[in-house]
Symmetry: C2
Subunit: 148 residues, 2 copies
DNA sequence: TCTTAAATGAAAATCGTTTCTCTTTAGAAG
DNA sequence: CTTCTAAAGAGAAACGATTTTCATTTAAGA
């Protein structure tokens, strides 16, 4: 299970250091996005220490390599999660439980084409983030207070 | 032309102060997104002074009211621009000239429906940002060096 | 006009993120 | 199994955008 990550890192020409592997492992065990700070908190016990800058640096590198995805947060604060598909970074985020699910919406290809036609220029990239309640949270919400 | 904005502000229960109006006017004259800092720089001459916090505060309030839109910037720094449609915040941004154009893509309604079905929960909102080159910049790019 | 809640400015605080510099280490080479 | 070197890490300090505090001013309804 670790070799898999080492392999990934080798592909990115990144050394397979214990901390880097730990970050990857942690993210792989999460079904939600995690902040650099959070990762740091959780990992500092396991090693003599891990520096916050190290966490940031690694996340940045991994994100650049497409192994993890940066969540778009309206204001500041970045969040990351392991992404299954290196080229389709569209995700559904439950605002209640923060679970992240990949969204492989075909409509997006149409979207690019459509925007392309409408603008008459060239579409280079797009970012899509869908926020909402996942099934279980929606059910839970409906069960209790149901806010309008 | 000013009364229009006063009206808008009244609807949001915000006082029509000179600075607030100036911010709105400035944004209305821009066809691109502008940073709080930039707005501040451009406005400080016209008044005895305008504080950066004031700019931030106002932008936040106006964005909350749906009069302006916050651009999703991967990392830090927020940008705003006046939006024509209070409920459709989808925009095309030219990475070259920073011009912003509204994208009223119908596919997005399908998108919501589709994600809704796929997730089985409830979609509350979504953010879409399309980056690329607008027509004129695309032409210009093609005319000169054409990068890849 | 009067009154009051809202708005503002200036300075200081916050806080996420990055940079610097020196030390340690992964991993290719021998 | 050592050696060597570029990459990686720690810790502290720097950065810089955004926010808070609080005393002062002002819009706008009474």
């Amino acid at each position: 299970m670790n070799g898999q990550f080492s392999e990934t890192l080798k592909g990115l020409k990144l050394k397979a250091t214990p901390k880097r592997l730990a970050i990857l492992r942690l993210l792989s065990q999460e079904s939600t996005y995690v902040s650099p700070e959070e990762i740091w908190q959780r990992l500092r016990g396991r090693f003599g220490a891990i520096g916050l800058p190290t966490v940031y640096r690694n996340l940045e590198e991994l994100a650049a390599g497409g192994v993890i995805t940066k969540v778009i947060h309206p204001n500041r604060q970045l969040y990351y999660f392991l992404c299954s598909n290196r080229h389709h970074h569209h995700h559904f985020i439950c605002v209640a439980c923060r679970r992240v699910e990949d969204v492989d919406v075909c409509a997006l290809n149409d979207l690019e084409r459509e925007v392309d036609a409408k603008i008459g220029g060239r579409v280079l990239s797009h970012i899509v983030q869908v926020n909402g309640l996942c099934r279980s949270c929606a059910v839970a919400a409906a069960g209790s207070g149901e806010k309008q």
